[in-house]
Amino acid sequence: MRWLGLAGLSVVALTLAVVLGPAHVAWADLGRSPIVRELRIPRALLGFVVGGSLAVSGASLQALMRNPLADPFLLGLSGGAGLGAVAAIALHLGGPWALPLAAFVGALVALGLVFRLGLIGGWGGGVELDPRVLLLGGVAVGAFAGAVMTAIISVSEAAQLRNAFLWLWGGLSGASWDTLLVLCLYVPVPLLVLLAAARPLDVLALGEEPARYLGADVTALKRRVYLAASLLTAAAVAVSGVIGFVGLMVPHLCRGVWGQQHRALLPASFLGGGALLVLADTAARVAVAPRELPVGIVTALIGVPLFALLLRRWTAT
């Protein structure tokens, strides 16, 4: 029943995204209109994959960090991606894919730095990831990249640099079948790694030491989950900029319905995150047409009141 409801919500979200838009397309033309075929459908599907990836990434990181505040963008990826994008514009890197590629590379560099910072001497003499250090390292790397980015924007002469911020604040305007194809070739790998880690993540929730006694390879698990979740987020930020709240709120919303078992929580987060982002993007396109709102603002406007409501209900019981 719960799954049926979630599947229904996803279908409704995708249908609305295809049917509604600022441009008027007659019902009879829905199948033929290039606006629907080349813009709305790839954008809806891209939004679904990005929203789902962010939510799964958030759910995994919250389990890994054992911190309800963990968010895919807390670990420095947004700063790295923004710096990459700004560098691409400042260096006049040409080509239609320069910006997303540079953002992806920037996010990977930040990821590598944070990973290296998070590796410390730990249990049993080997090096291992310390979630607390990861969190602090992520914030530090993100802040530093943000500062470098702002410095470049302040001193550079390139007139378009201000718009790099617009891009960074997120949106799905860059959606096309090509973008969707690239993302769909990439996303399944980290996604499957995370889904496969569902059972060990349940055990990790008990604490690192109990998890070890229960036979989980905690050292490898933490690395695998951190890298897979970050690689998912890096891809998402490259195609759509930083879209907040989806990765933070959707996992919590899903925990309220599906409980703590990651085998159910991760797929539910994927569908829930996808549906939320697609609904938010449709609202962003339609609400103030012909203008468009940044989608991150809409995810917050829809998500935060919902989140607050549920938070009150949970804490009341």
Partner: protein, 305 residues
Amino acid sequence: MRRWADRIHLAARLLVSVAVLGACGRAGDRQTAASQASGALTVTDDAGHRVTLPAPARRIVSVAPSSTELLFALGAGPQVVGRTTWCKYPPAALAVPVIGDGLNPSLEAVAARRPDLVVLYRSALNEAAAAQLARIGVPALVVKQDRLEDLARAAQLLGVVTGHSSAGDTIAAAIDAVLRTPPPPRHVRLAFVVWDNPPMVIGAGSYLDQIAGLAGGVNVFHDIPAASATVSLETIAARDPQVIAVLDDSTPVGEPAYTARPEWQVVRAVRLRRFVHLPADLFGRPSPRTAEAVAELRRLLEAWR
């Protein structure tokens, strides 16, 4: 685009009122009135503040490319002692020392030029800066230069405070004449795309929308009151402009990178590579050379009529 900063701000339109001590009416009378009052003059700027100068300004710092160009056009170029990094027109302006990029002016850098007048474009940040400058005894004039009619008034205002009021009147009259000229009868529908992701276009609040209208074009986003706005790509596709106007920066002139993106091919003008390239010197800001800009755009649009 950084250059847009001097026009993308939402503000209620204030009427510029130029009031010189002891005079009212046409600007032509003002200079005489001002000189009769031993050279001292008082004007009301576009922020509504009364600014008093003991005499026409001799050392001016201009904190916007549009006012720098206007000051040079008035013949007040030799009186300009400070400019921003973006003030590159006319070429003679390049000899003037730079005080910064003008977005958040460093008051110390401005004051170091020992100006007797600072000209700022109208924005909340600049109004605060003007108040601070006034406190250290430097008169600052806030001038709105978003639309072509603003430019006519700005020309008269700056003409009065620099002692070139007849030049100011001439420029204002020339701009008024352009604004009154009927456009060519057959219209070309166009969109100004200033950024691709998210797509940003020029709306009715911009002088570019006015220039398009005067040159026989119709901005397909004329219904957006703001100077610029983020829109959906599908809106651009649905409104189907005949041509896309591209503002050419200092960056290499050519087709913008987004024209190769697959999703942009839905826009017919992009698919058919129908672009008009507008040189930034002439179209990058409201300019006293508006007549020239209108004629140039008219010529460029002729091919698509």
